[in-house]
Amino acid sequence: MFGLNPRDTRFLLIVVFLTLATPLLLQPFPESSGLAQFNAGYPDLMQRFAIFGIFAIGFNILFGLTGYLSFGHAAFLGVGSYTVVWMYKLLGYNILPGLVLAMVISGLFALLIGFISLRRSGIYFSILTLAFAQMSYNLAYSVLTPITNGETGLQVYSNDPQVLMGANAPTSPHIFGLVMRDSVQLPVGDWLFTFNIGYYFCAIVAILAFYISLRIFRSPFGMMLRAIKTNQTRLNYTGLNPRPYTLAAFVISGIYAGLAGGLLAAMDPLAGAERMQWTASGEVVLMTILGGAGTLMGPVLGAGFIKYFENIFSKINDNVLHAWFAFLPDGLENFLVALMHPFVGKGWHLTLGILFMLVVIFLPGGLIEGGQRIARLFRRRPDSDSRHQPKPAPHVGE
């Protein structure tokens, strides 16, 4: 089905199910329980899961397959956001023209940066992309103020033309009347589920993005990209030119990033220069490596993991900790709170950093490799002599 073999079709259907059921799955704790703060089923966070999932899927096509580590992908994210907000200002709040244009412009921008940066490989390529992204950031922040509105950030004002705005059109981002920030809330017992239009729009786009990446992984093009990572010398002497392949991968991942940036602005009609900063470029690298570079699901998992930490762990402050340990004697309570203090709240980066180090050291294949190892423990038959057989290569993207 969909040009996939049965195994991949099943995989895709599972991904579709998980994505559509996210508002239920991420809300496992009742509202009144103390664990409710670990619920992640609110629209803003779910949208981020989907959007940064798209960003990471695209980044993985470049980094995971070809091994070219770009440190400047946030530039395309920013370009996408600015494009969408400009379309709000000029045309109106329908997000569709902006998203299409965001993909076109970020693709062209990626073509330019990729053409220059891909003249070098390895660390020099990374530095070139980083330099380009920082240039873009500084341009957006100061020089190009007429276009980007500098440090205030680009937003829609009441005197903007908005030529396509109908009299009764919604005054916030929408797609043909479906307003992104609208939600349906469904209380079931003590649980509260929120079904947000914005999330479902992002989810559908994310599923499409995932499907395209799956097709690329299984295509001759994807195979060539993996060959580039392994041995460029052999590729050259096999009659293949690596440059256009890497450039195509770079542009595709740039388009994914532009789309993700556009969706950020589609959920919240703002665009700021900080979206292009190097920390944002670094974040997508972390997501991809944490989840498992070169695997299909890994980058999405990594993106979800990091966004969850950013939004949930950062909310645990000392008061919450005191409430948790209130049942202990005062001295012990204070001691435990002091012990955990650096790792939660504003210190969530520390926890994430430690986790990242552990994953890179013990699971070089990322969270996906961890999952595979656990699955293998359960699957192993005691009397099989599989260890003495030549090991079959793992199926790409499991």
């Binding site: 395209i212 093009f221 060959a227 002497y237 096999t238 090991k391």
Partner: protein, 251 residues
Amino acid sequence: MGILEVKGVGKRFGGLQALGDVNLSVAENTVHAIIGPNGAGKSTLLNCLVGKLIPDTGSVMFDGQSVLGRKPHEINQMGISRVFQTPEIFGDLTVMENMLIPCFAKRDGAFRLHPFETVANERALNERALQMLEDLNMAEKRHMHAASLSRGDKRRLEMAMCLVQEPRLLLLDEPTAGMARADTNNTIDLLKQIKETRDITMAIIEHDMHVVFSLADRITVLAQGTPLVEDVPEKIKGHPKVQEAYLGQAH
């Protein structure tokens, strides 16, 4: 007129004249060996043929067309495949994928954007790749990672990757370098099998005399960047100039 014509090729690295005035003609459907002691310029000559180096003087014609100034992938697309001293294969890919890449390169050229096709659906190419693996007795290893193959199998796989492209000229750069005697003999048998079962032109660079004399139809002896003699193996064996180049001058 041979399929490969090298005329007056010279290459200088700083103060070192690596190649003097090299003339070489490789006839179609023969095995031509280029031998010589270390530092004779064998590898430099090979690199000039595949586009890795550009000679300072002279011309290299393949099938009537100049290869000079062309990139390695363009020269491969003309019909020249190269086997390396240490096998260059795609280690992270499976043996079958290793075979499919040259098949795609042969069919689609140096670049084709085909992100929505599926490798598994390319029946003809898959069959061809598998057939070649069967010919070289590697079919049962097709699902293995290429990096986990033994050294001899890596060499065999690299050879299969070159042959599946049906090159008009196969260049081999010291195919038995660093191999144990048994592996060397296996490689010789493999090359003999290839020579007997296919119409193929091979140019072998080698310093192991044993390999050369059991395979070559013609031999060129290179010393200090210039060809000493070119002849059939029987004549080369006892040639005084060759003895001199290999063993030094008799005192």
